[in-house]
Subunit: 387 residues, 2 copies
């Protein structure tokens, strides 16, 4: 096991009927909140009213800031920073999924900066402070509600980049699994893909020699995500399945499974960011295309780990690690397809002729993230596997 | 899954060579530290010097408070409170295992109270504040370094009772697995028993109907603890095995595995407290006597859970849940014996004729903890299984 620091102070309030607690929790941190949310689905499902009623009762002023889109964009974040400054809010409440929470995080850091917020994403400036953030989660996948990262797309140059800082870690997150019951089958599937990929990146790409504990935690969580998602596809209103998915999503990317793993790389995310930046497809959909393609590319370099994954998750049997590894990749692709997530560029209407352009975009990010070994040629090879 | 709140802000600094960070970390919380430790083993293994050098370098004053014994006692805690007040310390640094950390927690709460600290343990007064606590861990079992509980024995009446409060949660804990290499085989075994029992109490005694995720996490951790302990028994200086044990101990009792389980009872701990209170035996040794005896008593009431435990942990096969359950209990006893932890009262020199006295002591605690179903007769039945 490698040395590590684990610190995750977010307070999680989990369960049915918990959303009305947002007001009192917010009032511990500020008196005037920027209420960040998406395209308005929270008007329809009643969450907007629950949140605003609770904030008003607790005496917290509200500045509405809707309009965060899936794959949140820089220009909208910049507008949020302007609004937050003009209105002099002292706390941010994000109501939504990973996109909304990530936009809120970028706004919270941007408000305190004397330069453009994008400088944080290119790592040219460090985050030194941020407004406190609370979240009410409506889509469970990113774990952004209990971690210190955020991803935003600069739409001018199709750069989907990230920030990481303890200052943007939410103080409080409220998760009511009943909220997920209205989530579409597509987004339920994409969520599962995202959660699984978060964990597999660590499982396949860490610098620790042996991680039996972390491996078992990842395997436990992936089994739970797959089992829950299979149930959700048949019974979208199954509370326990939604609850297991919601808590697994957090545990899969809040630092728990990677603690002790040493340095972890996320190459599938890196390449997927190019897909969602250029084609604005759902992040999970992009990951189900890239992850198996990346795994196939690693057949020789990571044979034993891939074989372990195959036998632990899919109970694949047989002689020869390479064969097991191949079977595991096939099983994963089949499972992604079975829940309705694409496993090829074509299935997402991305033409093969764009591969070079995508690789160029991803390579630029590999430079920002300092990922060695991901030359443009390697990325092209991975993308060719995704045809 | 049941509703829950999860909040665990302790900063964990884990790994080789991390102890010298204690000074700077402590200086964030105070200028004069009560240094709480045990019977002096930290003089021999160099940890005392590492800690005091680091505190001095960081400009933190030190008030020595040694002498915490295994199964820490109230009179010593009271002495610690007096010392802390007289010396006007503003922070506590605990260097030791669960006993030392628990004593430090009791002192930290007691210093702030205008009544005897024992009132907290009988739940007649609530904890309203405490001095900040930092820990350097030398024995991994209790997870006290990352949770909000503490256990102390009132030696006047052999009451081994507990407190639970967010105010006594350590702010920072430093864990260097190399420290464990000098831990005796006996205490390495008792630690494993304690960690496993923490998790099995939740696994067997929760009010949630279905907990597939929590079950898998518990199973993952127990497998890791058993595998690591088997290695440690052969190779006490195996760093990875010690590290896996150290981190598993924390994850097994820091709120992670019980989140969503609803109400959790700890009957094996309840009865064991009487053994270590009356006979001053090691807590883990008491647990390896009580846990299998408790399981045998629950053969009819919890057949399916016991069978699941047997098949997941020991891969026991066969027809009939009751038979599987019985086999699982036998396997657990055998494993406890194999690492050198006792599985009968006799093996710990506790006479059968004392069973009624022990049951009376345990029953008193069951009243304090409001555990229904644990009449004196039931407790006697469990203890009879431990003959």
């Amino acid at each position: 096991m490698q040395n590590f620091i684990f610190e995750n102070p977010t307070k999680i309030i989990f369960g049915k009927g918990q959303i009305p607690k947002i007001g009192n929790e917010t009032s511990r941190f500020g008196r005037k909140a920027l209420l960040v949310y998406g395209m308005g689905s929270i008007y329809k499902n009643g969450i907007y009213d629950q949140v605003t009623d609770s904030l008003k009762k607790a005496g917290v002023g509200i500045v509405d800031f809707p309009g965060v889109k899936s794959n949140p964009v820089l220009s909208h974040v910049q507008k949020g920073i302007e609004t937050a400054r003009k209105e002099e809010v002292d706390v941010i409440v994000a109501v939504g999924g990973g996109s909304v929470i990530d936009a809120a995080k970028a706004i919270s850091a941007g408000v305190k900066a004397d330069h453009d917020v994008w400088d944080f994403f290119t790592f040219s400036k460090p985050i030194k402070s941020a407004l406190p953030i609370l979240t009410v989660v409506t889509v469970s996948a990113s774990a952004s509600e209990m971690n210190n990262g955020a991803v935003v797309t600069n739409e001018d140059n199709c750069q989907k980049y990230c920030i990481v800082s303890p200052f943007i870690q939410p103080a409080v997150s409220i998760l009511d699994p009943t909220v997920l019951i209205s989530l579409s089958p597509e987004y339920s599937a994409y969520s599962a893909v995202d959660v699984i990929t978060h964990m597999l990146e660590g499982y396949f790409n860490n610098t620790a020699l042996k991680t039996p504990l972390q491996d078992r935690l990842v395997e436990a969580l992936i089994k739970t995500v797959m089992e829950s998602t299979d149930i959700i596809m048949e019974e979208p209103d199954n509370y326990n399945a939604r609850a297991n998915m919601m808590w697994s999503a957090i545990l899969g990317f809040n630092g728990l499974t990677t603690a002790g793993m040493g340095k972890v790389q996320m190459p599938a995310h890196m390449i997927e960011h190019s897909l969602s930046a250029i084609y604005d497809i759902a992040h999970g959909a992009g990951l189900s295309i890239i992850l198996p393609a990346w795994m196939s590319c690693m057949l020789d370099a990571k044979t034993e780990r891939l074989a372990k994954f195959a036998s632990e998750i899919f109970h694949v049997k047989g002689r020869g690690s390479r064969l097991l590894a191949q079977k595991g990749i096939s099983c994963l692709k089949l499972w992604f397809e079975s829940i309705g997530s694409p496993v090829s560029l074509g299935a997402a209407d991305i033409p093969e002729s764009d591969i070079e352009k995508i690789a160029g975009n991803a390579f630029a990010l590999s430079q920002v993230w300092c990922y060695e070994g991901y030359t443009q040629d390697v990325i092209i090879k991975i993308l060719m596997n995704a045809r």
